[in-house]
Symmetry: C2
Subunit: 334 residues, 2 copies
DNA sequence: ATGAAAGCGCTAACAT
DNA sequence: ATGTTAGCGCTTTCAT
């Protein structure tokens, strides 16, 4: 690998001049510029970004720390973040935490050590609670989860409204006994649950605790919890799930019990995954604008990188209710 | 951010000693070690990896360049790569190329500039064809695609067998007019097609070119191509797709045409995605061992990092045919 | 066993 | 407009 010195030697100039040419500084004589460029081409010179970063104390890398890349929501967001970062000349350091606070801390440290320009992060509740103790050396934009009060940039869904909207839809369809499964590790599940409860409350319904569960936001938990719900003396008429992994697990459980959707049981969830419209009946979902979330988060982060003094902002996006066949009106049911 | 100098000063030792303690060198007096460790803790010192990398000319970062992170195959592989890398103390620089050779080259350059320890890459045919011109400065493991002859480490599916296996299953089910949609940008699609053709040939069937298509390996293409196939004067009895995005598109097209699977048309594909077993009827697939692919690729890469002289290896994994309802026997059909 | 010092490749302040 | 040089934070000879 040839270095800037080799180029300087080949072009018979100083390394400073090479650096200037590469950085497109204005005051370089065309003749020299040509010589440098020729040498660069001839030697196939590529600047060593490590050295550049060390010297300039900043990198063109963004960190993205998500809890599970297999969750289609994060997959979609990651893709949007990557695209946006790329468009701005940034790259992506991707980390997976499995909702594990220790891994979160470790990766956060890593980001600091790698001198990333900034980080996009979906934290667990635990890490969020000790956020102020962390003293991170880089700007952060939270996605999917945040503290109401937290003084951090964030791009979030209006989870309260989203939970309400989905619950209201269920109520409007005549459902009364609603089983609900929420993710336990994050603020998001809690907020969606609050929206859900608010909707029931507004409709004059009381909350039956045995119908409301908080579990690990993964397929297996969705499956087992749905079986439990279905096994209740008076099983719910519909299952409300707060993320798509839970929805998948619930669907599997319902199928295995030989129950027909929507005739015997309804099912709704979050995130308009590829399969939500592919299964039959298609699943009613509260779709999140994943592209917009990823794009906004990246742009927000880049703006903060450019201006660290800028006041904290939270971007709240609205979800969209997509009504499909899995939650059609149930007449004449108890 | 405190540096190694600050620590040295606080512990009243030289930076060399701090470095030795951190690197767990054997010959440091316990007393000094304690002082250093105390200073590290007190100052919350974190080594600057950029500086470390510059000095040691190597990093603990692995590059992963995939064509589309939204493809569940790559999502699953990425997850496995991340896990394995993490277990070995490495991080992941993730890039998305959209099957775009220019982006591939750009990202490959970036990897060099970022001094990654190595790269796992799923290249397009075009980049593969000029692989030897690239003169990469880091070791690479190819996944999903490769040249038969190429002198590069790779972890691949036995695509020929996989294509055959899936086609043979179709033949054994009595299907004779088989529409097939393959990805065009990679070697993988071609190989699966060769396996497919071999199976038909072995069964004494001739290949009907209008039934065999090569398209962009994405959902939209699967959708439109399936519509075309379905619109043929004598439409196929079953659709064979060579990746899960194509399968999803095909399924959508079939549904929109109001055709019943498997009574009116069959459907099979690759990759056992979350939804393949969730849709009804469940889809027969040739499942790839995504976890094993990601793990093997990472370990192969790490071994090569450790020993650059080691002879090139290709790890060929077998797919598994999972027969479900979407391809059941068709009796009495023409 | 420990410290002094060189140097990884680059940028930028300073000098000319 | 261009060159000289210091130094980013670290590791690793080379002395002692």
């Amino acid at each position: 690998m040839s270095s800037i010195k080799d180029v300087a030697k080949a072009a018979n100039v100083s390394t400073a001049t090479v650096s200037r040419v590469l950085a497109k500084h204005p005051h370089v004589r065309p003749a020299l510029r040509e010589r440098v460029l020729a040498a660069v081409a001839q030697l196939e010179y590529r600047p060593n970004l490590i050295a550049r970063n060390l010297r300039s104390q900043q990198s063109k890398t963004l960190g993205l720390i998500v809890s599970d890349i297999r969750n289609p929501f994060f997959t979609a967001v990651s893709r949007a973040v990557e695209d946006t970062a790329y468009a701005h000349g940034y790259n992506l350091l991707l980390c997976n935490t499995d909702e594990n606070p220790e891994k979160e801390l470790l990766y956060l440290q890593l980001m600091g050590a790698e001198q990333v320009a900034g980080v996009i992060f979906s934290p667990t509740l635990q890490t969020l609670n000790r956020w102020h103790e962390l003293h991170l050396s880089f700007p952060t934009v939270l996605i999917d989860r945040s503290l109401r009060s937290g003084d951090v940039d964030a791009v979030l869904l209006d989870n309260l409204s989203a939970g309400s909207l989905l619950a209201q839809h269920l109520l409007s369809q005549g459902y009364r006994r609603i089983g609900a499964i929420f993710g336990e590790a994050s603020t998001t599940g809690r907020e969606r649950q609050r929206g859900f409860e608010a909707a029931l409350h507004d409709a004059g319904l009381s909350i039956q605790p045995e119908y409301v569960r908080f579990v690990r936001p993964q397929s297996e938990a969705g499956y087992h919890t749905t079986l439990e719900l279905l096994g209740l003396p008076e099983p719910p008429q519909v299952i409300f799930t707060s993320n798509s992994l839970l929805t998948a697990g619930a669907l599997q459980a319902i199928r295995e019990q030989g129950l027909h959707i929507p005739a015997q049981i309804g099912l709704v969830g979050f995130d308009d995954t590829a399969w939500a419209s592919l299964v039959q009946p298609a699943i009613t979902v509260l779709a999140q604008p994943t592209d917009e979330i990823g794009r906004s988060a990246t742009e927000l982060l880049l703006q903060r990188v450019a201006d660290p003094q800028r006041p904290t902002r939270k971007i709240i996006l609205q979800g969209e209710l997509i009504v499909r066949e899995s939650s059609v009106e149930q007449r004449g049911r108890t």
